[in-house]
C-alpha cells in the first residue's frame, strides 16, 4: 500500500500497518508528534491506530519559531 508521509509517497509491502509500525520502519524514535489525515493522534494510540492505503501521515518535531 501507498501512504503519504510528510508529503512524500512511500510504499509498504503490508496491507495494514499501525502508526507505530510505520514510525519504527521509518526510524523515528522520540521527540515527534503525529497527525493522521490532518487529525492529531495521541502518542498512546500509535499501537492501535491502523493506517490504510492512501492515508496521510504528518510527523512533526520542534523547530525555531517566532
Amino acid at each position: 500500500m501507498k501512504i503519504s508521509i510528510n508529503g512524500e509517497i512511500k510504499e509498504f509491502n503490508k496491507d495494514i500497518l499501525t502508526i507505530k509500525e510505520v514510525l519504527d520502519e521509518m526510524g523515528y524514535k522520540k521527540g515527534i508528534a503525529v497527525a493522521l489525515n490532518e487529525t492529531f493522534v495521541l502518542k498512546t494510540k500509535y499501537k492501535e491506530t491502523k493506517i490504510k492505503d492512501g492515508d496521510r501521515l504528518d510527523i512533526l518535531s520542534p523547530i525555531q519559531g517566532g
Binding site: A33, K43, G66
Partner: protein, 264 residues
C-alpha cells in the same frame, strides 16, 4: 524595580517574550536569548524526516538547556483545522497547555485571519487550552476573543518581520483601555527598542519579538538593548509621564536669578 507579573498560570519577571528563529547560528540564538533576559521563548513544529532527527533534535536540546518556558506557536497554519491540529501536537510534544494561536489569512502581509482565529480559539478553549491569539489590532475581535475566555491577547504592532513598529498606536491604546484586566502583548512588527518602549508606555503588559533581535547586526547586543528598553518602558508606565504642555516652563528655579536678567 518592577514586580513579577502573571501571564496565564505562570509568573515571570521579564516582560519580553522572544522568538527562536532567524538567528545567524544556534550559538548566537542561545546567547541572544540569555542576553535578552526573556523567560518565555516561542518555538514551532515542522515536518521532519527520521534522518534529520538522528542523534536527537539539536535545536530542541539547546532550548531545553536554557531553562526557559516555551510557548509553541501554530505559525504557517492557514485554516482553523490546521491550527487546531498543530496546537494539539504541540501540547503533547512540549507538555504545555498554552499556545500562541496563529492563523494566517493573507500571504502578502501575513495578516491573521480573524474569523478562523475565533473558530480555532473556541475549539481549543473547549479542549482545555490557554489560547494566546496573535491578532490584528481590532477592538471587536478583541471582544470576541475575550468573550470566548482568552485572558491574554496579542495584537500585532505591524506585519511579522516588517520592523515597522507600532502602525496604529490609537487602536492599541483603545484595546488597552477597553480591557484593563487582560494581559495584552504587542506581538510582531517591533523593529527597534524604541518601538518596544512605546508599546510598554501604552500600558501593554509585554512584547513578543524575534526578527528585531535575530536580524540586528549584533543580535546579542540588541537582545540586551530590548531587555533594558522593555524594563524602562514598564517603569515609565508605572511612574506615569507628565502631561505635555504648549508653553515652556523653566525647570531651573527663577528665584535668585542673577542680576543681569533684571535689565533684559
Amino acid at each position: 524595580m518592577i514586580e513579577n507579573w502573571k501571564l496565564e498560570d505562570k509568573e515571570f519577571n521579564s516582560r519580553l517574550m522572544i522568538g527562536s528563529a532567524l538567528y545567524p547560528s544556534p550559538e548566537i540564538m542561545a546567547k541572544s536569548i540569555k542576553a535578552s533576559g526573556s523567560q518565555i521563548v516561542t518555538v514551532a513544529l515542522r515536518r521532519q524526516s527520521a534522518t534529520n532527527l538522528e542523534g536527537g533534535n539539536q535545536f530542541w536540546e539547546i532550548i531545553k538547556e536554557l531553562g526557559v518556558t516555551v510557548l509553541p506557536n501554530t505559525a504557517g497554519c492557514h485554516t482553523a483545522k490546521e491550527a487546531i491540529t498543530t496546537a494539539m501536537m504541540a501540547r503533547e510534544l512540549f507538555d504545555v497547555n498554552w499556545i500562541k494561536l496563529e492563523v494566517i489569512g493573507n500571504q502578502y502581509n501575513l495578516q491573521p485571519d480573524p474569523f478562523a482565529l475565533v473558530e480555532a480559539t473556541k475549539v481549543l478553549i473547549d479542549e482545555g487550552f490557554r489560547v494566546l491569539p496573535y491578532m490584528t489590532d481590532d477592538l471587536v475581535l478583541a471582544q470576541k476573543l475575550a468573550d470566548l475566555g482568552c485572558t491574554t491577547l496579542m495584537p500585532w504592532g505591524s506585519p511579522i518581520g516588517s520592523g515597522r513598529g507600532l502602525m496604529n498606536p490609537y487602536n492599541l491604546k483603545v484595546i488597552r483601555k477597553q480591557f484593563p484586566n487582560l494581559n495584552l502583548i504587542v506581538d510582531a512588527g517591533i523593529g527597534k527598542p524604541s518601538d518596544a518602549i512605546e508599546a510598554m508606555e501604552l500600558g501593554y503588559d509585554g512584547v513578543l519579538l524575534n526578527s528585531a533581535v535575530a536580524l540586528a547586526q549584533e543580535p546579542i547586543k540588541m537582545a540586551e538593548a530590548f531587555k533594558y528598553a522593555i524594563y524602562a518602558g514598564r517603569l515609565s508606565y508605572e511612574a506615569g509621564a507628565m502631561q505635555k504642555r504648549d508653553m515652556a516652563s523653566p525647570s531651573t528655579p527663577t528665584v535668585g536669578t542673577p542680576f543681569w536678567h533684571q535689565f533684559s
